[in-house]
């Protein structure tokens, strides 16, 4: 039993409540006497507020209160939690409610609270605000130029930071290069689109001065800390609950003004206040992702050996720096630019730039897809220049197999990997040479198939807290777990991380069951409530299993050690003579002399016969700070067909090979890959947040912003290799973001491969029919 539960694709225990409608998400909650908040948001991207008059709104039916401007200024400014060192970081003041100047469409100006959401919405239209429009800039390159409209005082050229990373002798690399390929890539701005819109419900208990905030967050403990800072409710009296959370993808990491304004209203009115965003509001004011403009040069020899990569990136940060934003286009991006390759030299400059747009944050992959895309695009470009097969070029430059540490030019030490083996397995699976032949045959018949590869390595398992401090992260990055046995041998597990769809209630129960010989059904996992669970830093960056899972393993092993002592005492044997196997603690050589963990749990609770100096009860906690990050990796392949008459792209086949180390539950791993891949495909083919020159979001709803739909996608083939991380107790690395990191580049490379015979050299994402068609027209000299 202990051997089979780890690695078994058992059904998720989360599901019964989710498939029956019994799960409770934040917006499903309602409390007696509850009122509803609606945020008054700026319709201008940049404007000075000259007058706010709330008197009409205050008289509207059902309205309980209206607060605007200085009235909500009692709240502290929004903190930025990633203070990037050595980057001339300028954190502009980010108020919960704008008092003087609004800086993006969606910036909060005030709030209406009413008995029903309908009445709140009605009254919003009655708040009179006069704006004096200011000049607007929405793209990071223009915003970074002298003379551009300035968003904040004392931030010249809107430059929030200028960060650099480098290693090796970059000048020598380019001096010795036999060939240099260059490219300009726009990693367009994306809208995360968790299916559940954000929501907050705040309940103030005036008598005790306690506040409970139910919120759609990926990290309740961080939110409690930030909420305490902004609202002034002390941490001990503040309880943050993340009930069922409907996906996040990074957009539910940040702390948001609307949440704190909801808290503010609850305190002011002494009534529970609920706020739920509309999807339109979600598009305007919940954080976006990506938004890079990248200029890249890759130096190489004629035999395909890469020598150095040089790049300048302008990263749009939006109007303000969101909670973790500065670390995304820098630490999580620049440090990954060696990819899976032997890259001798690197230099990257990243300009983080304020623009009159929605703040940008982590979005699934967070910096790593942008890095992977850069490398994988350049590898294909180099292969094309050299007329080399892209797979061959990759294999030529790959870091060979290593089991315990490999240092790369960015200064990171990858944990373990066998990159060539993964790529070779993928190529064998798809019968790569035959696939290329099929492609050649199809071309003869006028059909344009494209094959695209992308390999990646990502940094997960964030991370050693000492490193977090060194890179300016204003917190630790350890995780915690408490394992508590009950008298009957049933187990409660409390974790600091906060899963919201990833299935750790199941996989963490599998970890405990496989470690200590209880039935997986006897383990219940608690998360997402700061009053119930130990402190933890949250679920993002594919870190919950890699860090929180390790904490759980060690906590379980602590219980096991104590159980061993109790078993020895009960069996009248020496502790050294007790061995654990198959759910039992037995005396070596006498398998009949044994106690099950259930028996031990009972004896530990009744405590009639405890060993000397051993406490009653059976539980342990662990705060685990990892010694290094983990580095999952893989190789993906996409096959597309381009309709050359219209430019439409059909994704015909997608094969993902990922190595996240041993898999606790392969069905869940597969599910993570499927979803991740499709999000990356979305960036390649459909998704883009588009602003007009006035800073209005043209893709302001799902009517205009194209999300991946079932009928546009193939099934995804999922393969894996298993290379354990040497520093994780179970070798686990993380899988949450892998799919997204590779798939955008794989699909891009495939589409370009399809139309390359027509002379197309570059494409812009998303690769809409018109863009592909135009590229073909231009290549053929017809436009």
């Amino acid at each position: 039993m202990a051997t089979s539960i780890f690695g078994s694709g058992i059904r998720r225990r989360e599901d019964p409540r989710l498939i029956t409608g019994a799960a409770t998400y934040t917006d499903d909650l309602s409390l007696p006497d509850m009122v509803h908040a609606a945020m008054l948001r700026s319709p201008h991207a940049h404007a000075r507020i000259t007058r706010i008059d709330t008197s009409r709104a205050k008289k509207a039916p059902g309205v309980v209160a209206v607060f605007a401007g200085a009235e909500i200024d009692a709240l502290q400014a929004m903190p930025c939690a990633w203070l990037l060192p050595n980057s001339n970081l300028k954190v502009a003041t980010y108020r919960c409610g704008a008092c003087d100047v609004v800086r993006y469409v969606g910036d909060i100006v005030g709030v209406v609270v009413a008995e029903t959401p309908y009445q709140a919405q009605d009254a919003l239209e009655l708040v009179d605000v006069d704006y004096e429009p200011l000049p607007v800039v929405t793209d990071p390159v223009s915003a970074n130029k002298p003379g551009a409209p300035q968003l904040h005082p004392d931030v010249p050229n809107n430059e929030a930071f200028h960060w650099t990373v480098g290693g090796g002798d970059i000048d020598a690399a380019f001096k010795n290069a036999e060939l240099v390929v260059k490219e300009r890539i726009v990693q367009q701005r994306l809208i995360p689109n968790a299916m559940e819109p954000r929501a907050a419900l705040a309940q103030w208990k005036g008598a005790s001065g306690e506040l409970t905030l139910w919120n759609t967050t990926q990290n309740p403990h961080i939110l409690r800390f930030l909420c305490s800072v902004v609202t002034g409710v002390s941490e001990d009296k503040l309880r943050v609950i993340a009930p069922e959370v409907g996906g996040g993808f990074g957009s539910k990491i940040a702390a948001y003004p609307a949440d704190f304004i909801t808290v503010f209203c609850a305190r002011k009115l002494n009534r529970p206040v609920k706020w739920t965003e509309s999807r339109r509001e979600n598009y305007q004011a919940t954080t976006h992702g990506r938004d890079h403009v990248q200029e890249i040069e890759l130096a190489a020899k004629k035999d395909g050996t890469i020598l150095g990569l040089r790049a300048t990136v302008w990263a749009g940060m939006g109007a303000y720096l969101s909670t973790a934003a500065p670390g995304i286009p820098t630490i999580l991006h620049g440090l990954m630019l060696s990819g899976v390759y032997k890259l001798p030299a690197l230099k990257e400059d990243v300009h983080g730039v304020y623009t009159n747009t929605t703040p940008v944050e982590a979005y699934r992959g967070a910096g790593r897809p942008e890095a992977t895309f850069m490398i994988e695009r350049m590898m294909d470009k180099l292969a094309a220049e050299l007329k080399m097969d892209p797979a061959e070029l990759r294999l030529k430059n790959m870091i060979p197999r290593f089991e315990n540490g490999h240092s790369v030019v960015t200064g990171l030490s990858y944990d373990s990997g066998d990159y060539p083996a993964g790529l070779k397995k993928l190529l064998a699976h798809v019968k790569y040479q035959e696939l290329r032949k099929e492609q050649a045959d199809a071309r003869k018949k006028g059909r344009y198939l494209g094959i695209g590869l992308a390999t990646y390595v990502e940094i997960c398992g964030l991370g050693p807290s000492q490193v977090a401090g060194a890179i300016g992260f204003q917190g630790g990055l350890w995780e915690s777990a408490i394992v508590r046995f009950h008298p009957t041998g049933k187990v409660h597990v409390f974790i600091g991380a906060s899963p919201h769809g990833q299935g750790e209630e199941t996989t963490f129960a599998q970890i405990v069951a496989s470690e200590i010989g209880v039935d997986v059904g006897d383990v219940k996992v608690f998360h997402g409530d700061t009053d119930v669970t130990p402190m933890g830093w949250g679920t993002y960056g594919s870190r919950t299993t890699a860090v929180g899972g390790a904490a759980l393993v060690f906590a379980t092993r602590k219980v096991k050690e104590k159980a061993k002592i109790i078993a020895a005492h009960l069996l009248e044997a020496a502790v050294e003579d007790i061995e654990y196997g198959d759910g039992k603690f037995a005396v070596k050589g006498s398998p009949d002399k044994a106690k099950t963990i259930q028996e031990i749990a009972l004896m530990a609770h009744v405590a009639w016969n405890m060993p000397k100096d051993v406490e009653a009860g059976l539980e342990a906690s662990m705060f685990y700070d990892p010694p290094n990050f983990t580095f999952p990796y893989g190789s993906h392949l996409a096959v597309v067909e381009v309709d050359t008459e219209t430019g439409q792209v059909d994704l015909k086949r997608y094969v993902a090979l990922d190595d996240c180390g041993p898999q606790i539950n392969p069905v869940i791993v597969e599910g993570q890959v499927h979803g991740g891949v499709v999000q990356g495909v979305g960036q390649a083919l459909w998704e883009e947040a588009v602003y007009d020159e006035n800073g209005q979001l043209l893709t302001g709803s799902m009517v205009d912003y194209a999300l991946p739909r079932a009928d546009l996608l193939p099934n995804i083939e999922v393969l894996s290799t298993v290379t354990p991380s040497p520093h994780h107790p179970l070798g686990l690395k993380g899988i949450g973001e892998a799919g997204t990191i590779a798939s955008t580049a794989a699909v891009y490379n495939a589409v370009l491969d399809a139309v390359a015979p027509l002379g197309v050299k570059t494409l812009q994402m998303p690769m809409t029919p018109e863009r592909v068609w135009r590229a073909m027209q231009q290549a053929q000299g017809r436009a």
């Binding site: 959401p117 919405q121 009605d122 043209l698 893709t699 799902m702 194209a706 029919p769 018109e770 068609w773």
Partner: protein, 294 residues
């Protein structure tokens, strides 16, 4: 999102609907609501009152008689798409109805509501234009019949008067040797037509004896592609003749081609012949197999 306040009146008959419209100036008719409710939720429309005609039995249903298909205004897209009778008598219309929105939208959205809304990117107006549909309504001046070329007047505008209730839509059933099709370049987000082309072709011994082609999506109101029609009528239906005829479509588009961030006017204009070719090819194949079957 929350609609603004309005009053609500449920009409039990067409006559009562007309009376209510007169009684409450500015009131709007509510059928399935799939065009109107989204506008209300966005607060892009704020009528003082809605007159719900959704339960008027005489507005429902589909019947074929004397070579005519008569469709009640409240017939849903799902009913159109799944009607075996319509598939047989008027396949292009059934095909277009199966392209509207998605299954849940098709279950409630009605043909009457759809055409009265006259969204240029909608599917049914295009195919009804190709079919030469007749739109029957009852208003203050009594019964009125409007042909498709008159009915769709422009972007979101029809020939219906403020107090008219659209009651029926009539199209000719498919004749022997006729084939119809509707092809659609779907907007990936809205699911509306970036380009929609309906074609009705008659083939006799492989020759095109009649052709009607209508274009939607890329123009403010559905238009006939008469240049294409002229070019294909009298020709043997081959890939070459079809492609060459389809190439004439730019002459039919006028100077009001629509464009947006997904597909510019220039692009739509340039690829329009491809979609016309595809619609025509499909219609021609169906016409020829029909003719063979006869």
């Amino acid at each position: 999102m929350y609609a603004p306040e309005f009053d609500y009146y449920r009409a039990k008959s067409i006559a009562e609907a007309g009376e209510l419209l007169k009684k409450y100036p500015g009131a709007k008719l509510l059928a399935g609501g799939h065009s109107l409710i989204p506008l209300l939720k966005l607060r892009l429309a704020s009528p003082p009152a809605l007159v719900d005609i959704g339960r008027i039995g005489e507005l429902k249903g589909l019947a074929v008689k004397d070579g005519k298909v008569r469709i009640g205004a409240l017939t849903t897209h799902a009913e159109l798409a799944s009607s075996t009778e319509l598939r047989a008598q008027c396949p292009a219309l059934a095909e277009a109805a199966s392209h509207v929105g998605d299954p849940a939208v098709r279950n409630r959205g009605t043909i009457g509501g759809n055409v009265a809304h006259a969204d240029p990117a909608s599917d049914l107006p295009t195919v009804l234009t190709a079919l030469g549909a007749r739109f029957e309504s009852i208003g203050p001046g009594g019964k009125k019949t409007i042909t498709a070329d008159q009915f769709f007047q422009g972007m979101m505008a029809t020939a219906l008067g403020e107090h008219d209730v659209l009651t029926d839509i009539e199209v000719a059933a498919q004749a022997a040797g006729q084939g119809g099709s509707y092809v659609k370049f779907v907007h990936p987000a809205s699911r509306y037509a970036v380009i929609g082309v309906a074609a009705i072709v008659t083939a006799v011994a492989g020759n095109c004896t009649s052709a009607v082609i209508a274009l939607g999506g890329l123009v403010p109101r559905p238009v006939r592609a008469s240049s294409v029609e002229k070019a294909i009528i009298g020709q043997t239906l081959t890939p070459d003749t079809i492609a060459s005829a389809a190439g004439r479509v730019s002459a039919d588009l006028g100077d009001e081609v629509l464009g947006d961030i997904f597909a510019s006017a220039e692009y739509r204009r340039t690829v329009a012949p491809v979609w016309v070719k595809r619609a025509l090819t499909k219609a021609a194949e169906r016409a020829m197999s029909q003719a063979a079957a006869v």
